[in-house]
């Protein structure tokens, strides 16, 4: 089934993807500079502060690059699998969402660069940024909601027109991803709109610090699953088609997404384990819920490798691991996401360590944590997104990925992995020695412990430079893709293996799943939040930068 991508939808998707890559490039410049500053290689020219760079890096990479790419990617798949084009109303909504997010991004970046909001992307109160920083963030979130509503609308209309049919897997997963996002962002929206904006304008004098952090992390953990789920969509739906295999099980894939929806939200306390004001009982309860969210990742790992093995054996692979060699290693569309999957094994294991209640004391707020999410989001997710780009841009622009660009894609992936090995590897190691994250160059008055950390900082900076080279290669590939030869590129959507059982209907009973998610959230948060309202003393704001 060859179908050209709807031109108007193509513009929408491309606008998202290109915005994402511009943010990535700018964020990458900031990141590379941070590495060189922290290792003491350079000092920044007079007016640029380390923490401004750090704020810009975090916001552009973690919030802007990811959100734009994800919305663009989901819209491409929703358009492709739900009728071949977006409904006019949906497309309009998506553009309004895009405009709203972009206005927010531009305001936010200006405020950060003016030094009015050096509060990092976690903006912990009572550090008080310019109100326009919070307004910018609110606009980004509201814009993403509008885009999410568009996806829901397209899905509902399709369901009405196709009564009795199971929805396409890609669309189903997109709906789960955006549902997760809508439920999670309520927390940060309440924090920003109800607490921080009035306080920052001076309409109220003080802010409830413990509550604001709790609302932030109610959002902050599902945020990482919002990054991860689109990568999982690629792994479940796209990769089987690229290698020429089949989806192992449609129902298990859907079930794992439902488990993510249920268990990735009521777990924010595992980011607050070392904090005052939350009882040990509730911390541990959320640790248990956090561990539940590992189960769908185990299911995913099994399904993916089952797909690989079935494919390899169908090609005549012999022995226990013979199928491994049958995989298309020279195809960047496969190789980049595959390296992402591979990195997710140590990344996930590190995550379990972080969430282990009192053991968190060993790594909390050290560079270990920075190393951890540079494996998860900056490698597993980022490499998968790069792999998607290699066919998505050609598909929507009616071009082809040339053999040369494909080779560059392979080189880019290797470069990224080597750079990350040095950077994240040293971050993990030196973090275990106690080296704090988010800290500019310092030797703590030549304290012997801190002096010992320096060689690791140098290794981090070297890794960062290799990553920056990877980023430049990527930018070149994206630029070349826009001018690649005309041709036809397939939108790779996998099909379910023959003989797989039919997908149970209850998986699309959204009322049921959202209901359970809400019950779990209320269970995990109601009592501790009431406690925060009753006992916490509020604090005035400070500008400490």
């Amino acid at each position: 089934m060859k179908q050209p991508f709807d031109r108007r939808d193509g513009k929408l998707v491309l606008a998202h993807i290109l915005f994402a890559f511009v943010a990535l490039l700018l964020g990458g410049v900031a990141g590379m500079l941070q590495g060189t500053v922290r290792s003491g290689m350079i000092t920044l020219p007079a007016n640029i502060g380390y923490y401004e760079l750090l704020t810009a890096h975090g916001v552009l990479m973690a919030l802007i690059f990811t959100t734009y790419f994800i919305i663009g990617f989901l819209y491409s798949g929703v358009s492709h699998t739900l009728g071949g084009k977006l409904l006019p109303g949906v497309r309009k909504l998506a553009w309004i969402g895009y405009a709203t997010m972009s206005i927010g991004t531009v305001i936010g970046v200006i405020v950060i660069l003016l030094g009015k909001a050096s509060v990092l992307y976690t903006f912990y109160a009572p550090m008080k940024a310019s109100p326009w920083f919070y307004i910018a963030l609110a606009l980004v979130v509201i814009g993403s909601w509008l885009s999410g509503f568009g996806i829901f609308r397209q899905y509902m209309v399709w369901r009405k027109a196709n009564k009795g049919k199971v929805s396409p897997l890609f669309a189903y997963m997109s709906v789960v991803t955006m549902l997760l996002w809508q439920i999670a962002t309520i927390g940060v929206a309440v924090e920003v709109v109800v607490q921080l904006i009035p306080w920052s304008f001076g309409w109220v004098d003080t802010v409830n610090v413990v509550l604001s952090r709790t609302l932030f992390w109610y959002f902050g953990h599902p945020l990482v699953y919002f990054w991860l789920l689109p990568a999982y969509i690629c792994w479940y739906v796209i990769i089987p088609k690229i290698i020429g295999g089949k989806i192992f099980s449609d129902s298990l894939a859907r079930m794992s997404f439902i488990l993510f929806l249920l268990f990735s939200i009521p777990v924010g306390f595992h980011h607050q384990l070392m904090e005052p004001g939350i009882s040990g009982f509730w911390k541990y309860t959320q640790v248990v819920l956090t561990f539940m969210v590992i189960i769908p990742s185990l299911m995913t790992a099994f399904s993916l490798f089952a797909t690989f093995e079935l494919y390899g054996r169908s090609k005549g692979a012999k022995g226990l691991f013979g199928w491994f060699r049958m995989l298309p290693w020279k195809d960047a569309r496969f190789f980049a996401p595959f390296m992402g999957m591979l990195v997710f094994i140590p990344a996930g294991a590190g995550g379990i360590i972080n969430a282990s209640n009192q053991m968190n004391a060993v790594v909390h707020n050290t560079l270990w944590v920075t190393g951890h999410f540079h494996l998860t989001v900056a490698t597993s997710v980022a490499l998968t997104f790069f792999g998607i780009t290699y066919w998505l841009i050609p598909h929507i622009t009616g071009r082809v990925l040339t053999a040369r660009m494909n080779r560059l894609g392979i080189v880019q992936t290797i470069c990224w992995c080597i750079g990350m090995f040095f950077m994240s590897g040293s971050m993990h190691t030196v973090g275990l020695l106690g080296d704090p994250r988010r800290t500019a160059y310092t030797t703590y008055d030549d304290h012997p412990d801190a002096i010992l950390w320096m060689p690791y900082h140098v290794a981090m900076a070297v890794g960062g430079m290799i990553l920056f080279i990877g980023l430049l290669i990527l930018a070149y590939i994206v630029y070349s893709l826009m001018r690649a030869p005309k041709g036809e590129t397939e939108y790779p959507i996998g099909e379910t293996a023959e003989g797989a059982e039919e997908t149970p209907r209850y998986l699309e009973r959204w009322g049921l799943w959202v209901g359970i998610a809400v019950v779990l959230i209320l269970f995990a948060y109601t009592l501790p939040v009431i406690d925060m309202f009753q006992t916490t003393v509020t604090s005035p704001g400070y500008v400490t930068w």
């Binding site: 610090v209 904090e275 004001g277 040990g280 189960i295 707020n365 304290h447 003393v537």
Partner: protein, 156 residues
């Protein structure tokens, strides 16, 4: 829903391991007193820290046989008092709050690592078995001078 036999085995092993981890964590946290620090609200008016006991007189007080309470204030960008000195084998019960923004309180080379938030008082205890100059640092970004925020504990 049909689940492949091998997948059942894989998930059973995985889930059992997770369960064992959780039991170990719970046993050590609740049974052996290794819970994370500062679990209960001990509140203070963050604008009145220096006039509220015990923070009106920060410093080290002996509370028992080689046991001390260290009352400390974290502020942008340092800790009060500037330095502490205790004999080897001393146990220090730390009582710490912030007089401005959120700070960290990490003693390098130990498991002491906790958040200091305005309006809340954080507590943690540690026994210093080895002599040395311990570095206490802020591991939560708190502003321009964050990288200078530190103090030391001399154990001899």
């Amino acid at each position: 829903m049909h689940v492949h036999r091998l997948e059942k085995i894989w998930l059973s092993i995985g889930i059992s391991m997770l369960a064992i981890f959780l039991v170990v964590i719970a046993a050590t946290a609740f049974g052996m007193g290794m819970s994370p620090p500062s679990e209960h609200h001990h509140t203070i008016d963050p604008t009145q820290v220096t006039t509220t006991a015990p923070f009106d007189d920060p410093g080290l007080k002996q509370t028992g046989d080689n046991r001390y309470e260290a009352v400390m204030i974290a502020y942008a960008f340092g800790y009060e008092p500037q330095t502490l000195e205790v004999p080897v084998g001393a146990t220090i019960d730390f009582t710490v709050t912030s007089s401005d923004v959120v700070h960290g309180f990490e003693i390098v080379g130990t498991n002491v690592n906790m958040m200091i938030e305005p309006g809340e008082v954080s507590h943690i205890s540690h026994k210093f078995d080895k002599p040395g100059v311990y570095l206490v640092l802020c591991n939560e970004y708190c502003g321009t001078g964050h990288e200078y925020m530190k103090t030391t504990i001399v154990v001899k």
